[in-house]
């Protein structure tokens, strides 16, 4: 069973996008497989601070390379959707984050931050508060980006 459509029925840009998507997915699965395999062998890749930073850097560089390839392959309207989402989603997200930062001293009266910190603790080690803050920023920005991207496509239908 496959979730991929019959690529022969897709337009040229869509075929290229599927190719990039599949290659990115394959590389991610491969990396996950290597990590799982080495863990089973008792080799802990994410053991030292240096190795964690190196792996994080490799993941981000890989994501950026895929993003650049993706942006070059999509057509101009799809690219425009990302420009709009980047500007307006980013601006909206930053406005929300600015509000959250300014209101931070009052927020513990309404939100139990320890719940969030406990939830992310397994991934964050000692930097749990920093991790929770960065994760909040990423979630807010991603949600705003996605909302503007959807809004753009609904308007262009």
């Amino acid at each position: 069973m496959t979730i991929a459509p019959d690529t022969r029925t897709l337009s040229a840009p869509r075929r290229r996008q599927w190719k990039t998507w599949h290659r990115g997915l394959l590389a991610s699965l491969l990396a996950g497989g290597v990590y799982g395999f080495t863990s089973e062998l008792g080799v802990e890749i994410l053991k030292t601070p240096f190795s964690i930073i190196m792996v994080a850097a490799v993941v981000v560089i890989f994501a950026m390379i895929v993003s650049v390839i993706w942006m070059r392959e999509i057509d101009e309207l799809a690219r425009e959707a990302h420009y709009v989402a980047w500007f307006w989603g980013g601006s909206t997200g930053l406005a929300i984050l600015l509000f959250l930062m300014l209101a931070a001293p009052a927020l513990p009266a309404f939100v139990d931050f320890t719940v969030v910190e406990r939830a992310v603790a397994p991934f964050a080690g000692e930097g749990v508060s920093f991790f929770a803050g960065v994760m909040t920023s990423i979630i807010v920005l991603t949600l705003c980006y996605g909302a503007w991207w959807i809004f753009f496509w609904l308007r262009k239908r």
């Binding site: 337009s11 799809a78 308007r155 262009k156």
Partner: protein, 72 residues
């Protein structure tokens, strides 16, 4: 920006997907141009005009007449 893309496409009995394939863009882009929700870039506009062997102004026309030619 107004355009005659739907008419020109219909004259050739092309679907939106056919036209998209000729232009190397997605069907959604062709649709957005046809319903005048999106103005194509100049390179794409020229590509469309070339595909139909027409001058660009026979495919696209601006409904803003506030700017007149300098020579007039």
């Amino acid at each position: 920006m107004k355009n005659r893309l739907r008419v020109l496409r219909a004259e050739r009995a092309w679907s939106q997907a056919d036209l998209a394939e000729h232009l190397g863009v997605s069907r959604q882009t062709v649709n957005a141009i046809e319903v005048e929700k999106y103005d194509p870039s100049l390179p794409l506009a020229f590509k469309i005009a070339r595909l139909f062997s027409l001058p660009i102004e026979d495919v696209f026309h601006d409904d803003d007449a506030s700017v007149t030619r300098a020579a007039e």
